[in-house]
């Protein structure tokens, strides 16, 4: 069909003379002319199947009339098509009557039948089946998604759609395409794989693979998320490229590496949240109604999966919620440091829940409240007034059954029991709640180590980037011109991040403004005369400041890159490298003096 010169064919549809490209189907041409032809098994992104036969039309070629399905019949030159002739209507009525007999409760069939004045069937009615065997789901899964998880089973009247051996299909990627195309609503995602759609699979990414990264993104161009895009996963689909009229979709487009020469760099690579699966005692990933604070944010967002409604896994509204502070923070087992933001956002969560479910019991389980900052303490006081229960004591365990002898189980199988020690009351407690929100701490971004290596900056033991001086140079790094800001340096809240960002920007500006860079005075130098060209120094230099001059066969040190650690000096077997201010003779003299 891929012919270079497209032949145009003349044809008449319902008296309208039109032209069509060779290879087009009658249905395609009719759609263009806004002529309505009913279909049940057709979807323009899968190959014509011709199973429902509802789209049958009457054609006349060379004086012969025939009934053909418009979805798969290709147009021919001089063809006369009638889409609503008496024959055609009679035909469709008959087919609809047949359908009604088996699918009397299927909305789409009833509606279509009603349009054709068929409300009852003369045929023996059977118990209504939802599935009309149109095969769309099977074909979408195969042709578009490429997962091929669904199939027809058996043949003839016994034919039905299922997964292999009626079980869970290994190749199903739970994309929901089948449910989307199903005209009767027979297929639902839950039907195929018993998945808790909103909760355990709650992706924090965008809801559709194609999205504009965030509101007011610049440039405001949609991108495809390669992790959820069906095409990227299976090579199938590709529907977006078919619908995009300007033909702007390019799957081949790769991340490109742009090389830029810059005078200074600000690293603001952010953080990741603590993965509470590491702390099994909280039941995250195991218990349905244990979610993280970030998932709560996602859910409470108006454009989120629940449209902003705060619900449990089963869709009902929780009446009691426990918010557990310091998950992954201030804990020797995970991270020792305080993540600084959790107290405040936990208060905000409690506030939001109070708004959404005014009569909910909200518990905050904290070690101690850390609310330093403008207006923070006031917010804490407000929450106290809003009737949130504050329990001083860290939540230690979430389970479905109470573990303390003193706790009476509440008659509900969806209750969660949060165990803690109330240090103010001086006794252990167990709170039965509907839902648990884990206030997860902040950790260095997943690739922080890699970034540190690339930029040759150092990290602290906790993995956050290390500043040159905690007090005097909090945004500088040892590498001149490289600055750090925000959570890349350590957990901090928005105002702090903004301040640090502004400071880093100013520092970078001042560097650029100065136009020249002050060099480290203590750099190392190579004595070309002595250097044997063994290249040992090249390997040890953490800054890549040493290059090799092939012509002279000696190492050369770039003064601007050298940070004066002296590592190469110690490594140089021939003693060709010396460090200004710390050369061997000086140190030896020092030694001698000390040991005199």
């Amino acid at each position: 069909m891929e012919e270079t010169s497209v032949k145009m064919l003349k044809l008449t549809i319902d008296g309208i003379e039109t032209e069509a490209r060779e290879g087009e189907t009658i249905l395609q041409v009719a759609e263009r002319l806004m002529i309505d032809i009913p279909t049940l098994c057709h979807w323009k992104f899968v190959k014509p199947y011709g199973a429902c036969r509802i789209c049958t039309v009457e054609i006349e070629v060379h004086g012969k009339t025939r009934m053909v399905p418009s979805c798969s019949y290709k147009v021919r030159d001089g063809m006369v098509v009638k889409t609503r002739s008496e024959e055609v209507i009679k035909h469709r009525k008959m087919l609809l009557e047949l359908m009604l007999a088996r699918h009397s409760q299927v909305e789409v069939v009833r509606k279509l039948a009603h349009e054709y004045g068929v409300d009852t069937t003369r045929f023996e009615e059977m118990p209504s089946e939802q599935c009309i065997n149109c095969g769309l789901c099977v074909r979408v899964c195969d042709e578009v998604v490429g997962a091929n998880a669904l199939t027809f089973v058996k043949r003839g009247t016994e034919r039905y759609v299922s997964t292999p051996f009626e079980g869970e299909a290994e190749s199903c990627i739970a994309c929901g395409a089948c449910a989307y195309v199903c005209p009767t609503g027979h297929i639902t995602v839950q039907d195929i794989r018993d998945r808790k759609y909103v909760f355990s699979e709650l992706a924090l990414g965008p809801t559709t693979p194609i999205h504009i990264p965030f509101a007011a993104a610049i440039p405001g161009i949609p991108v495809i998320d390669s992790h959820t895009c069906i095409h990227m996963q299976t090579g199938g689909c590709g529907i977006c490229s078919k619908v995009c009229e300007p033909d702007a979709i390019d799957y081949e487009m790769q991340d490109t590496f742009e090389e830029m020469e810059v005078g200074s760099i600000i690293l603001a690579t952010g953080y990741k949240t603590f993965d509470p699966k590491r702390a099994e005692q909280y039941g995250y990933g195991r218990l349905d109604n244990v979610i993280t604070s970030l998932e709560f944010e996602h859910m409470s967002h108006a454009s989120g999966p629940t449209g902003g409604a705060f619900v449990k896994a089963d869709g009902s509204e929780p009446k009691s919620v426990a918010i557990l502070h310091c998950i992954g923070s201030r804990d020797k087992n995970y991270n020792e440091y305080c993540s600084r933001v959790c107290c405040m956002y936990s208060l905000k969560i409690a506030h939001l829940i109070r708004e959404k479910v005014p009569d909910a019991d909200i518990y905050e389980l904290y070690i101690d409240m850390r609310c330093p900052g403008s207006g923070y303490e006031e917010f804490y006081n407000r929450l106290l007034e809003e009737g949130v229960h504050f329990i001083r004591g860290k939540g230690v365990e979430v389970s479905q059954m109470p573990t303390l002898a003193t706790t009476t189980p509440v008659a509900s199988n969806s209750k969660l029991y949060v165990k803690c020690e109330d240090t103010l009351l001086g006794m252990p407690r167990e709170l039965p709640v509907d839902m648990v929100i884990l206030s997860v701490g902040l950790e260095p971004a997943a690739d922080a180590e890699e970034v540190a290596r690339v930029f040759k900056i150092s990290s602290k033991a906790d993995g956050f980037f290390m500043e040159k001086h905690p007090k005097l140079a909090p945004i500088d790094t040892l590498s001149d011109g490289i600055f750090i800001a925000g959570c890349a340096q350590g957990p901090k809240d928005i105002p702090d991040s903004v301040a640090q960002g502004a400071a880093a920007a100013a520092a970078a500006m001042s560097l650029i403004d100065a136009g020249e860079v002050a060099l480290e005075p203590i750099t190392s130098v190579v004595d070309e005369e002595v250097c044997t060209g063994c290249k040992t120094c090249l390997v040890v230099c953490p800054y890549g400041a040493i290059s090799f001059d092939e012509e002279k066969h000696v190492s050369v040190i770039n003064d601007a890159l050298c940070k004066a650690c002296g590592c190469c000096v110690a490594a140089c077997p021939s003693g060709a490298i010396t460090q200004r201010g710390f050369d061997d003779t000086q140190i030896e003299a020092e030694l001698a003096a000390l040991l005199m």
């Binding site: 011709g50 399905p69 003839g156 009247t157 016994e158």
Partner: protein, 636 residues
Amino acid sequence: MPKIETAEQVKRFQEHCKSALDRFPIVVSLCNGTACCAMGAKELAAAFEKELAGDESVKFIKSGCHGFCEVGPLVVVRPLDVVYQRVKPDDVPEIVDRSLRHNEVIDRLLYRFGDGGKVFAKEGEIPFYSNQSKVVLALNSLIDPYSIDDYLAYGGYSALARALEMTPDAVLKEITDANLRGRGGGGFDAGRKWNSCRTAAGERRHIVCNADEGDPGAFMDESILEGNPHSVIEGMVIGAWAIGGDDGFIYIRNEYPRALKAFGNALKQAREYGFLGENILSSGLDFDIKVSRGGGAFVCGESSALFRSLEGEVGEPRAKYVHSVERGYRDEPTNLNNVETWANVPHIINRGAEWFRSTGTKDSPGTKVFSLVGKVENTGLIEVPMGITLREIIFDIGGGIKGGKNFKAVQTGGPSGGCLPASSLDLPVDFDVLTRAGSMMGSGGMIVMDEETCVVDVAKYFTDFLIEESCGKCLPCREGLMHMSGILHRITEGKGKPEDLRRLVKLGDAVAAASLCGLGVSAPNPVLSSIRYFEDEYLAHINEHRCPGSVCSALISYHIDPAMCTGCGTCEKVCPVDAIKPVPDEERKDGLLREIDADVCEKCSACKEVCPEEAIVVESPAVTTEHYRENVTEMR
């Protein structure tokens, strides 16, 4: 065995084989077809082999189907040229002694027409054979299907040698001139098909033989594959030469294990001899055939479904507004013909298009193999020239209706064909005439029905068969047939409504018009044609609750004819539900010794089968026991 490399060598080798065969003065050919086997040909073969052990003068052949299955197992003795029928192992010593050693004919084993009627000895004299003209089946009784040498001795593969010396165009022209029409059912012009396959764009071309003979009651292809597999191979290689085929496939039903075996063996031999493989007969043609087994799905006989099945997919038809010739197997140009079509090809090349056209009719030249089965005296496989009338086939060759009953209808074309009544008996059989009469040629099944057959029941049977075999892809076929069957079932149960007939016709029309593949389009044929010719029978079911054929169990009842019953009690013993009881002395009327309790009777027919006096009668409309007595009294 070195490969045969030139046409010259073919000729020389044929002569060699012929002389080897001629060394045997006497040939005994035992039909080893499926039917004969089922009737004891195996034991017979063992007996012959034992009896003939060490005898150098006799060649014993276990041949393919001779066709006359009704009277099997068959043994043909040449040159005496005598046909023995219903031979038992005990007869073997006598045959060997008298017929082989002393050239005597054993009258006892000859075929006789009717009870004590005329006796026929020679093959050519038996009406079953004399009215046929065998082309494709000619060699079936002569050669051992497992021996390529036998085939060569009878001039086998000379057509291939000849074709390979011709240009592909010349071969194509010969086939086109012969006006060979596909024997598979549609009757599509083979020459045209070959040509379009040849000219279709595509990298590879495939030659496919359709041996998925799914039609119930038809076994032509099986017999050819079993009896003379090399003719199919030869035809396919010629086809490959003419079309430019790169590889070949044959799709054989899994229900034909014997055909699979015979064909597999033939392929092996043909490869050994160099009729398949690379550079066949130095022509530069590389071609081989792969066997693909079907999986028991009638719909796979449909070309697009067959290709899917060959590809290892589910055999579902596709919308084929693109001809499968252009996009068949793997969407590449594919030429699909059925077994009989391919088997005809060598004959056309050997004897020319002119000869081929001299038999048959103008539009349908040549011969056609039919399997003549059903309620006919001589069931079996026959090959007749096109244009012969149904009457000739059924009454001259078939010997009329079994048991001297009356002819009711003949069903041609398998489940998609139609029923033709007595008034159509004088129609000449060719593709177009049958189609016009509301039936079709199909692959050549011909099922004869007598007055004891119920047309509605047959229509119901076919519809049920098609439901079972429908792939279920398209709605009209899947749902429409189901409702048609529902109505038919109702009618045969005596619950038919007057409007049912019209509804059936309307539904049938819709299914025919809207279905996706040939199977669906022709599916309503049995119903529509039977309504067309036998409307009164339908009406009898609907209005009178009577089954004229006495078949539909809800509408019939079994009774014992007092005049015939001797009171032997055999029926009483076999009755699985104890519905037959002796009548107490005082209640005996008209000498009725046994009676059937209609309320208990399950109509299994067991009693009827065993009754030595044929005293069990079936009546329709059904009557209950109480009524029965009154009825019987009235009748007497």
